[in-house]
């Protein structure tokens, strides 16, 4: 009975299929198109073979009844669906017939065999209650391993927000950065609390290239957060609570970590003459880069939020309320910053004013640059059942206007960062049922 495994319902085929593959290979399907192709294979692969427990139970039944005529019934007391129920019922009938059983009506059989398809946390439990004449009821049973199960495809309606699965694992994912890509990601780095792992897509599967451990003396906060930043002169910088690591340039990948309360950059990009040339590939028609002043924020090393201290600041503000996340919206002559504060409000800071508002948003914000609409959208999380969701908004003035339908996830969003390229975001979700962490790239399809 040990090693009990619950086979939870699968709310979304795509991330789950990623999860399965990532465990066994580990590898991933990286592109949505590829996911659909693989989906059929995945579902087919999940078809559970009930033959062994069917044969086993049939033998146990016949050991009691012997060959002959029996009245036979099956009741499903488990989570098995109608299709599996029918498959098992037919399988049992076939197995019993193969052992010399003939099926007759209840009043014509020498015995009645009532089979219940039940389950416990570890397995399916199939129980046969056998009555012969007026004698005692004999009980025989077998256990059948739980299969992966199929699931209905969700999200059949096209959405403006599109998610592409990148990676899934048991351990928390703090951030994922795409290091190389052509039309689809070809090399990624995955940050978890204890290591950075590099994976390369080879032959349609993610193959682990290297792993570099993170050495830390202090315990991590419970709601652990971290950030990966591509660097110009080396591969990556890693920002963790109270710890900053710089990777080596070449192979093997190693991390030089030091305890540090240095601020975390709030915008990604490469340094360009005192400002950050942010998001150079973000789809601006004239090919120009959007230039945004650098902004960093201090992270509370034993908590899950930024302290509110900014450097160099937004206009006259070098301090704002403690916040979980920030998003930017470039305007003609300034940049509007949105801070999701720990008090549940969103603070809109333009350098002159700090305007708080209760927008009913979640704690995590990101902004993306697109080639349509106002050009910049804020992606905001929202709590919900069974999982959190993300929706895109624009700010014509200071009031948000939703510009997409909400896209729902299968659990709580645990990390949400704008990618270095600026036109997509990384969202990490802890699947409510499996407990696995799943990273997606979130893009806004503006044509919708």
């Amino acid at each position: 009975m040990r090693g009990a495994v619950y086979n939870l319902g699968i709310s979304n085929v795509i991330p789950k299929s990623v999860t399965r593959v990532s465990r066994s290979a580990p590898c991933l399907r990286f592109a949505l198109q590829l996911s659909f192709v693989m989906l059929g294979l995945a579902i087919a692969a999940r078809a559970v073979d009930w033959n062994a427990p069917e044969q086993q139970l049939a033998r146990k039944i016949v050991a009691v009844t012997g060959p002959g005529a029996v009245a036979f019934s099956v009741e499903n007391r488990s989570s098995l669906g109608r299709r599996d129920n029918e498959v098992i019922q037919n399988g049992l009938r076939g197995a019993l017939e193969g052992l010399g059983i003939r099926f007759v009506k209840a009043d014509q059989g020498a015995a009645t065999v009532a089979i219940s398809l039940s389950e416990n946390p570890a397995s399916y439990v199939w129980v046969a209650q056998i009555r012969q004449g007026a004698g005692e009821v004999a009980v025989v049973m077998v256990s059948a391993p739980r299969g992966e199960g199929s699931a209905a495809m969700h999200d059949s309606v096209p959405l403006s927000l599109r998610k592409t699965p990148l990676w899934a694992q048991d351990d928390p994912i703090l951030d994922v950065v795409v290091l190389e890509e052509n039309t689809v990601p070809a090399r990624i780095a995955v940050l978890d609390p204890e290591k950075v792992s590099l994976y390369r897509m080879q032959g349609g599967k993610w193959q682990q290239e290297q792993t570099a451990g993170i050495v830390h003396a202090r315990p991590w906060p419970r709601d652990m957060r971290g950030r990966l930043m591509p660097a110009r002169d080396h591969l990556l910088d890693v920002y963790l609570p109270g710890l900053i690591c710089h990777s080596t340039t070449g192979t093997p990948l190693t991390l030089n970590c030091r305890e540090s309360d240095d601020p975390w950059p709030l915008v990604s990009g490469t340094l360009n003459g005192g400002t950050l040339s942010v998001f150079p590939s973000a789809g601006l028609g004239n090919g120009a880069s959007t230039v945004i002043p650098q902004l960093s924020a201090f992270f509370a090393s034993t908590r899950n939020f930024f302290t509110g201290a900014l450097t160099p600041g937004v206009g006259r503000f070098t301090t704002v309320s403690k916040f979980y996340s920030a998003a930017l919206l470039p305007r003609d002559k300034y940049t509007l910053w949105l801070f999701a504060a720990t008090d549940g409000q969103v603070h809109m800071v333009d350098g002159v004013t700090d305007q708080p508002a209760r927008l009913g948003w979640g704690s995590d914000l990101a902004s993306v640059k697109t080639a349509c609409g106002a050009g910049w959208q804020v992606l905001a999380t929202s709590a919900g059942e069974p999982g959190d969701s993300v929706r895109a908004y624009e700010f014509p003035d200071r009031d948000p206007v939703p510009v997409s339908a909400a896209i729902e996830f299968s659990g709580a969003i645990t990390a949400f960062w704008t990618e270095a390229r600026g036109d997509t975001a990384i969202v990490v979700v802890r699947d409510r049922q499996t407990g696995d962490y799943e990273a997606f790239r979130l893009a806004l399809a503006c044509s919708q």
């Binding site: 040990r2 319902g9 416990n120 946390p121 009980v139 315990p219 419970r222 008090d343």
Partner: protein, 457 residues
């Protein structure tokens, strides 16, 4: 295959909607959670066998202490104070390597010596040794359930000091302890799992269900217990209700073994006479499930083969085989609001079968109406523990098939020491400001990762 919702947590749908409307998605630090409970333990020592096992006691233990291993929501064993383990000699010898850098709340480091001493105190029959930074447990025979056993709160690692406050490594440390009355806990800043989000937890003990609900309504409690028979009403009133799967066994337990063939017939007659279905509908207000087995169906998968319907003709027939009918006294817990009604109703059923039962609150009784908190989501441990509590012969796990488990349970029931009546869920009412609490499958709760949302100071 349709998804099977194995989640043991059931939140009333009305308030699930309210939760969905809540915007917060990330945890917040600060605040104190107020908990009320009926149990009134006089000791916080996880290994103190004089304290009755209860869901409340398990919950408190895991706020202050850690076990070598834990089990996750899927019953997979996870590392805790032990980072790795290895079994040898046919699961008889287990070696657990301890996590480095863990300190007790008194500032002293976790060592193999202290961990071994703690396990010896909890399990005097075990041979627990120290091997460098490892703890070695040697059992007489193969023990495939050892990991699940070590995950039980009673096997939490405690450093026993001279005072009544054992030191643990858990997320909260003791600030004030008034036995059986009040416990004040504060966040352990250096907790190896990370500081909890709450600043503290205050626990009021020995409070009736009614007082607890009043405290919740007045905003003086965030987490209170709910009697099973009250759970539907509480939910209908729009409160946030959390319920486990049925994990508590209500049963009649005889205080002695069967002593004669007549005794056996009378016990069978009593078991057949109890109208579990109508008792559940009326007295328990539809809570729980009628039971004729020790393990609930969700745990075993076969409980339905034990019939729960009353069979008065058979009960009378069994009773008629006996010439002299004794009057049995049925003891019940006078502080349990529904126990007296249940005992009286069972006595009425028994009278219909020609038996004579006399309910009493006295300790000395021929049989007792008891609630047994099943010890673990591991069926073998749950069965073995229930057998030990009710005076049945020891149940030894074979680690084998479900049929072996069925045979073991059937043998336990054949002793006729116990007449199972109901499997009940454990229910709690929760303040909507308390977030991210956990209701474990063993019926205990955890506030280690809980936090208080905005709207409450």
């Amino acid at each position: 295959m349709r998804p099977f919702d194995w989640r043991w947590l059931v939140v009333s749908s009305l308030l699930a909607g309210a939760l969905a409307a809540d915007a917060e998605t990330r945890t917040q630090y600060g605040g104190t959670a107020h908990v009320a409970m009926r149990a009134a333990p006089t000791s916080l020592d996880p290994a103190d066998g004089t304290q009755p096992d209860s869901f409340a006691r398990r919950s408190l233990t895991m706020l202050m202490f850690d076990t070598l291993v834990t089990t996750d929501e899927n019953e997979h064993v996870q590392a805790a104070l032990a980072t790795s383990w290895q079994a040898s000699t046919g699961n008889q010898r287990w070696q657990f390597r301890l996590r480095h850098g863990v300190k007790f709340h008194d500032g002293t480091p976790l060592t193999a010596e202290v961990a071994a001493a703690s396990l010896r105190a909890a399990n005097p029959s075990w041979n627990v040794l120290v091997d460098a930074d490892s703890v070695v447990i040697e059992r007489d025979g193969a023990d495939p359930e050892l990991l699940a056993e070590l995950a039980l709160p009673r096997n939490a690692i405690a450093k026993r000091n001279s005072d009544s406050k054992p030191s643990g490594t858990g997320p909260f440390h003791i600030v004030d302890w008034q036995p059986a009355k009040r416990l004040t806990l504060a966040a352990e800043e250096a907790c190896w799992r990370g500081r909890p989000f709450l600043d503290g937890v205050e626990v009021e003990m020995g409070r009736s269900f009614r007082d607890q609900m009043m405290a919740l309504d007045l905003g003086k409690a965030d987490w209170v217990e709910v009697a099973p028979e009250q759970s539907r009403r509480i939910s209908a009133e729009g409160r946030l209700l959390a319920s486990s799967l049925p994990i508590e066994l209500m049963a009649l337990v005889f205080t002695r073994d069967v002593k004669s063939a007549d005794d056996r017939m009378l016990r069978e007659s009593l078991a057949l006479s109890v109208e579990r279905g109508s008792i559940r509908s009326v007295l328990l207000q539809g809570a729980g499930q009628p039971a004729a087995s020790i393990l609930p169906n969700w745990l075993s998968g076969y409980a339905f083969v034990f019939p729960t319907d009353a069979d008065l003709p058979r009960a009378r027939h069994a009773r008629e085989q006996v010439r002299t009918i004794p009057t049995w006294s049925v003891g019940y817990d006078g502080s349990d609001p529904v126990a007296r009604l249940l005992a009286e109703r069972i006595a009425l059923n028994a009278r219909d079968a020609g038996l004579s039962l006399q309910p009493t609150t006295a300790n000395a009784a021929d049989l007792r109406l008891v609630r047994i908190s099943l010890a673990s989501p591991d069926p073998w441990i749950a069965l073995a523990n229930a057998a030990a509590l009710t005076g049945m012969p020891p149940v030894k796990s074979t680690g084998g098939s479900v049929e072996d488990l069925y045979a073991a349970e059937q043998a336990a029931l054949a002793t006729q020491r116990i007449i199972p009546l109901f499997h009940l869920p454990v229910s709690y009412a929760v303040a909507t400001t308390l977030k991210n609490w956990t209701l474990r499958r063993d019926g205990s709760w955890s506030l280690a990762d809980a936090w208080i949302g905005s709207g409450k100071p």
